[in-house]
Amino acid sequence: MNLTLRIWRQSGPEDKGRMVTYQVDDVSPDMSFLEMLDVLNERLILAGEEPVAFDHDCREGICGMCGLMINGNAHGPQRGTTACQLHMRQFKDGDTIDIEPWRARAFPVIKDLVVNRSAFDKIIAAGGYITAPTGSAPEAHSVPVAKANADAAFESAACIGCGACVAACPNGSGMLFTAAKVTQLSLLPQGQPERYTRVIGMVDAHDEAGFGGCTNAGECTVVCPKGIPLNTIGRLNRDYLKATAKRGDTPGS
């Protein structure tokens, strides 16, 4: 099939950027979306034009490195699918496709379609863990975990940190990402000792990084390639409320 692509080109953080139109012909429906961009880039290089920069790595939907706004949808039209797993059979001959980077205050553009998502790492560093230095762990079976809790924890832990939730949110909020980790760890017995300091630390880091607040628009969960449910944000809010009430408590009270 033959396609018209309109792609965001921006040479660096200081450049204003613009949409540039490219024609790509003979696209196979079995190509992935990124393979289609590979084909474009090969042609650009041979024509002496700089290829389009985009982030990608595993190309199997798990590393979270790719992230493109495709026709205004984070990761494109197919639900539950990252851009690298999206295949061209989802498009029609003659289509025009707009391709843009994630746009959010907390994710500044580096070049073309590549953005800086290090704010996510800062949120994790502020509490998205269970403190368990190597060697200190008890026997794995000493703490059973109810299957329902283990399964729900897994569901939240499936987040790949791609940032689609932020890109889709009208407020540029990173609340679904933050809530997914808070939910995973607060559902497990191992996560209880740090449960309330964790949520405060992570939410503070989230706000400092320039993400907006959550107003329950729900766009995040729709575009999430791993289907992280919106109720994780409800869990985060409940924990956050309890945590703020507990501030200043004496231990054991």
Partner: protein
């Protein structure tokens, strides 16, 4: 000119002697320690943030060392360990099905076709149980039974259920556990994290590894970084084949640059071709996607009995199907080790019985399992894998059997290390897939995650202390001649790549190199094929340096430039892989030489001549490498012909 010369054998691997069960404890006791106050004075560089690098960086920082960590991705959480699907082995024997440390040790040595080091493998089996404890404590959401205890399943090459898993995303969950421990240390200021940085050279001062040259991939800035020791955890080199299950960015540059500086490269020809991957669909293919080995627990592999039978699979009656793995290997059936399953698939396709549009595919059929257990149960076990398959192929595996074909997945070879995981350059340690040590000629399923975390959490943090006890070493600064030279080499190389401005893209060269390797150094190798490959690689490498086109400059994000540097190193590695494969005149594990097979087509080892590790020393570009042999001794598991029948 000879392809290689032979040097002195490797006499000492630093493994303690005595009963094998006591060796690791003895080593830990005899190793020197570093007291906590001195640890703060020492810096360790860790390159790579996968299971091995991430866990090592976090653990070293917890112990009190200052750590500098580097990865080429935008976040340490994206290292390719994240894509491991199936599971992680551990000798917990929670199933009461006869497992033990000794059995895991035995299975791994046998699975590796008697080409790994017994002492290392035993240690791996010992610490496997600690890994599960550690990960559970971190909140890794492993699959559990209704009683709240951990679930396990079977994997290839084993008759016990010792594989722990988190649905089809075990690697992701284990990596996020290590990543979170690492982020905690970053938050505490104990680790300096440098994402989007690529190591391009090793700095060796007075015979010791003392630093690296890195390029900031965003600004293009090249800097020299120093430490008391350097740890490489930069993964395997499967992308030499262009098409593999590796992530696009996976590369050999860090280990290859260290090899050029004096670290021996061991067993480069041992590559693992995984039997269950989605077949190639066309010339545009940029990578291959694995379908977890765990699927072989419930899926049955078959092809039509007749050549060229292109009926739809459901129209082929039961008695006209050949469930060839069950037929040839009745005791292990569909769960034979990977090398065996892959070659069997190649054989039936070579006979003209392959399926799908290219004829390079076999069926993996779940119809029986769905009938026996119900669709719901299959969904719960493999739902995400089935969805992934459908997204890629457009076919519904609940209705139509999956089509699969072998693809390059893992490399058992890597930098040579001693029992302490130290390379032949003092102060340079190598962990995870980047080293060669534990899997011999074939890795068993669910053992890569085990080895990465064993090295990173438990082995390296103990053994590196023995080296650092002599530190802190004299300070090195960027004006040291060794640092200046290493940096200049990197800059020159980048300028050379940019200056060619030829008429072919980097990818076009990489694809062509990959095809040569797949044809001649893939699932089956022969003397004639390997000699041809060596000539072709040399000619293509020359073309590369005359005709490659890399646009832009080195002063900012330039993804073509990054790729060009990696492919240039793959060319040099590819030649060494072929030489290694050519010199090893036997078949073992993933290395199958057409000239060396049993009458029924199984791998025929030659223990008399080849029970050794081939460790290669670099001399100069274009000059023959020197082969050093490390003899393998088998005191506990006596080499036999592997039989899974």
């Amino acid at each position: 000119m000879d392809l290689y010369t032979e040097g002195d054998p490797i006499a000492d691997t630093k493994a303690p002697d005595g009963p094998i069960e006591t060796r690791w404890e003895r080593r830990r006791f005899e190793a020197k320690l570093v007291n906590p106050a001195n640890r703060r004075k020492m810096t360790v560089i860790v390159v790579g943030t996968g299971l091995a690098g991430g866990s090592a960086a976090a653990t070293l920082a917890e112990q009190g060392y200052r750590v500098k960590s580097y990865c080429y991705q935008d976040s340490p959480r994206r290292a390719h360990s994240i894509a491991a699907q199936g599971g992680i082995n551990a000798a917990k024997n929670y199933r009461n099905d006869g497992d033990s440390v000794h059995r895991l040790f035995y299975d791994t040595v046998k699975g590796g076709d008697f080409r790994s080091r017994e002492s290392n493998v035993h240690r791996l089996a010992e610490v496997s149980v600690n890994i599960i404890d550690q990960c559970v404590a971190q909140g890794v959401p492993f699959a559990r039974e209704y009683g709240g205890l951990l679930d396990t399943r079977s994997f290839g090459g084993a008759q016990v259920q010792r594989t722990f898993y988190a649905r089809g995303q075990t690697g992701q969950q284990l990596l996020l556990g290590a990543y979170q421990a690492l982020e905690r240390q970053i938050g505490l200021g104990n680790v300096e994290m440098n994402a989007r940085h690529e190591m391009l050279e090793l700095i060796v001062v007075d015979g010791r590894a003392r630093g690296i040259v890195v390029r900031d991939l965003v600004t293009g800035e090249i800097t020299t970084e120093f430490a008391d020791a350097v740890v490489l955890a930069s993964g395997g080199y499967g992308n030499v084949f262009y098409l593999s299950t590796n992530a696009k960015g996976c590369n050999v540059t860090a280990t290859w640059r260290a090899h050029r500086k004096g670290a021996y490269f061991a067993n480069p020809c041992y590559t693992q071709i995984h039997p269950t991957c989605i077949p190639v669909s066309g010339d545009h293919q940029s990578k291959l996607t694995l379908m977890s080995e765990s699927l072989r627990n419930d899926g049955r592999v078959w092809v039509p009995k007749a050549k060229g039978d292109n009926r739809r699979p459901k129209d082929i009656p039961e008695d006209e199907r050949d469930y060839y793995l069950e037929r040839i290997y009745p005791s292990f059936g569909n769960l034979v080790p990977r090398d065996i399953a892959s070659r069997a698939a190649k054989n039936v396709c070579d006979e003209g019985r392959g399926v799908g549009p290219t004829g390079l595919g076999v069926y993996l059929d779940f119809a029986d399992a769905i009938q026996r257990l119900g669709r719901k149960a299959i969904e719960a076990k493999y739902g995400n894998l089935f969805e992934m398959y459908e997204r890629i192929t457009g076919e519904d595996p609940y209705e139509v059997p999956m089509r699969i074909y072998p693809a390059v997945h893992y490399t058992m070879g890597g930098l040579w290390v001693d029992y302490d995981l130290q390379s032949t350059i003092p102060g340079l340690f190598v962990i995870g897939e980047a080293n060669f040590s534990d899997h011999g000629a074939n890795r068993l399923g669910a053992s890569a995650l085990m080895q990465g975390l064993a090295d990173g959490y438990f082995v390296l943090p103990n053994t590196i202390a023995n080296y650092l006890a002599a530190g802190p070493f004299e300070t090195v600064d960027p004006s040291h001649p060794a640092a200046v030279e290493a940096r200049r080499d990197v800059e020159d190389r980048i300028q050379r790549l940019l200056a060619v401005n030829g008429d072919r893209t980097v990818d076009s060269f990489h694809r062509e190199l990959g095809q040569i390797m797949w044809d001649h150094c893939g699932m089956e190798r022969s003397e004639a094929g390997l000699r041809k490959a060596i000539d072709e690689i040399r000619a293509l490498r020359e073309q590369f340096w005359q005709r490659v086109r890399v646009l832009g400059d080195g002063d900012g994000l330039n993804q073509s430039l990054e790729k060009a540097g990696r492919v240039a190193d793959f060319f040099e590695l590819a030649e060494l892989m072929c030489i290694d494969a050519l010199h090893r005149e036997e078949s073992c594990g993933g290395h199958f030489r057409a000239e060396h097979q049993t009458p029924d087509g199984e791998a025929q080892r030659d223990d008399e001549r080849f029970a050794y590790v081939a460790a290669w020393e670099f001399t100069a570009t274009g000059e023959p490498s020197v082969l050093h042999k490390e003899d393998l001794k088998f005191e506990y598991v006596h080499p036999t012909q592997r039989s899974y029948k």
